[in-house]
């Protein structure tokens, strides 16, 4: 029963206009970054052709020109600001809608509450995760058509934005593709969990729009907390805001596995408890 329910929920999640819209919007945003960096790379090519300068090949390549490798372009800023919205748009609203319309009654009696809520969680997670990662992968592949995949050199760390204490900096300078893949996996998991905030919020709110917007406000609230945490100029803090540490490039403080895994676990436990365990105990009218 659970397998059938997951299949049905995934079909609903992936075959809907909102999923396509969110992925398309994400891809369009990444194009802004790509166009910007194509311009920069053209300038750098011109400079490289000069005889009397260091061409600095390792400072201008795919791994620091794709959207995840640079924090400066409008596309990059917009994408890593809007991703909570883009992950919730595909299917985060569905529970809210089904509760309001009464569809939930038919579905839970057919499948049982456990299967229904678990399948919904799975589908919301996967839709959010894919909506987060597809535009990034799209940008990476598209960027690969324009920029050479030169091995980054730590000599140019000010250009790459990956420093000695950055997360997985060793991978970045030795197996950069693996670094990108691991970051895409982190973003995949976080994208899914952030979409599940929307599902958990639907347990309390009546309107789909509110459920979809809430993850963005939650992320902004966490980001706002930074100013109360980072109070000393002498301490080398770790990044706590997902809006920064989900970027494969170090935007401010270095990311750390402890913070990433702790936030991942907290998000999973809270959203899973609210939307699957707590909500399951409620009666359905």
């Amino acid at each position: 029963m659970l397998r059938q329910m997951i299949r049905m929920e995934c079909r609903k999640a992936f075959r809907n206009k909102m999923f396509y819209t969110a992925v398309a919007a994400g891809c369009i945003i990444t194009l802004f970054a790509l166009v910007y960096y194509i311009g920069i790379y053209q300038n750098e090519l011109t400079m490289m052709q000069a005889d009397d300068v260091n061409p600095m090949h390792e400072a201008s390549g795919l791994f620091n020109f794709w959207i995840g490798g640079e924090p400066f372009s409008f596309g990059s800023a917009a994408y890593f600001f809007m991703f909570p919205l883009l992950t919730a748009i595909p299917y985060g609203w569905s529970y809210c809608g089904e509760k309001r319309s009464g569809y939930i009654r038919t579905a839970v009696v057919q499948a049982g509450k456990k299967a229904y809520f678990l399948a919904k969680y799975t589908a919301v997670f996967l839709s959010g995760a894919l909506a987060m990662v597809i535009p990034l992968a799209f940008d990476f592949l598209l960027s690969a058509l324009f920029f050479p995949a030169v091995m980054p050199s730590p000599v140019y760390c000010t250009s790459t934005g990956i420093f000695y204490d950055s997360l997985m900096s060793m991978f970045y300078y030795t197996v950069p593709l693996l670094y990108v893949l691991i970051y895409l996996l982190i973003d995949f998991i976080f994208g899914g969990l952030i979409a599940c905030i929307s599902y958990a919020a639907a347990c309390f709110v009546r309107y789909r729009v509110v459920a979809v917007i809430l993850p963005l406000f939650f992320m902004l609230a966490v980001h706002y907390l930074r100013q109360f945490v980072y109070i000393s100029a002498e301490v080398r803090y770790k990044e706590i805001s997902p809006m920064f540490f989900l970027r494969p490039v170090q935007a401010a403080y270095p990311a750390s596995w402890a913070v990433i895994l702790a936030e991942m676990a907290a998000l999973f436990l809270v959203t899973f408890f609210l939307s699957v365990i707590w909500e399951r105990k409620h009666e359905i009218y």
Partner: protein, 225 residues
């Protein structure tokens, strides 16, 4: 043999008692009508039988198994409560096919037959959101009966239906009864309710105040069946 028993079922929502010590028994192959004004507790009683809400006191058992303790929902039940609710982006057939796919009890042909039985076209690609109220109601009835459930619960199934639709519902209910299903029906049209039902429970303020047996002309007044 299907048998539903409600034993002193009381349901309180905050300070309101919406069902008050309802005790009744229902058997397969019969149509039970629920009669009463708005807010008398008909829909709440149906929700309790379906298992969507749990009694504050008392118990509901289906074939001797208590809902909420021995099982979550009755194993074989189809229902239409209040307004039919389906997914707007899919056609009527797609909606039913998806729901039927969960348990896998209704085959494609069976689903299409059900849709035809309620006067709709299973090949119609029109999205559910574009259906008229009457079409939505018909699809809701089709969903309730498509798996040939042992228990059929229909809350105001003639809402939004024209005369032919009402006749269709009557025929369907008779067929369901003949098949051996236990049918629970609420309807504001007393004429239809009396015509179809074998027994009627008249409800007032969450209580069953009258039990009318129509097919054996037995009548008990003033309380529980």
């Amino acid at each position: 043999m299907v048998r539903i028993e409600l034993d002193k079922v009381t349901k309180r929502i905050r300070k309101n008692t919406v069902l008050h010590e309802v005790t009744l028994k229902m058997h397969e192959g019969r149509i039970y009508g629920l009669q009463g004004v708005n807010g008398s507790g008909k829909t709440m009683l149906m929700r309790t039988v379906i298992g969507l809400i749990r009694p504050t006191e008392g118990s509901v058992s289906v074939n001797g198994r208590i809902l909420g303790r021995d099982m979550e929902f009755p194993e074989s039940i189809g229902f239409l409560l209040e307004n039919p609710a389906f997914l707007g982006q899919y056609s009527g057939y797609e909606n039913l096919n998806m729901l039927a796919g969960i348990k896998g009890r209704a085959l494609t042909g069976q689903i299409k037959d059900c849709i035809r039985a309620v006067g709709l076209d299973p090949e119609d690609k029109k999205k559910y959101r574009k259906y008229s109220l009457g079409m939505k109601q018909r699809l809701g009835i089709a969903a309730a009966i498509m798996e040939e459930p042992d228990i059929v619960v229909l809350d105001e199934p003639t809402n939004a239906l024209d005369e032919s639709g009402v006749r269709l519902v009557q025929d369907i209910l008779r067929r369901e009864k003949a098949r051996g299903a236990l049918v629970i029906l609420s309807c504001h049209d007393i004429g239809i309710l009396r015509e179809l039902s074998d027994e009627i429970f008249r409800m007032e303020a969450g209580r069953v105040v009258e039990h009318i047996c129509l097919n054996d002309e037995r009548q008990e007044e003033g309380g529980d069946a």
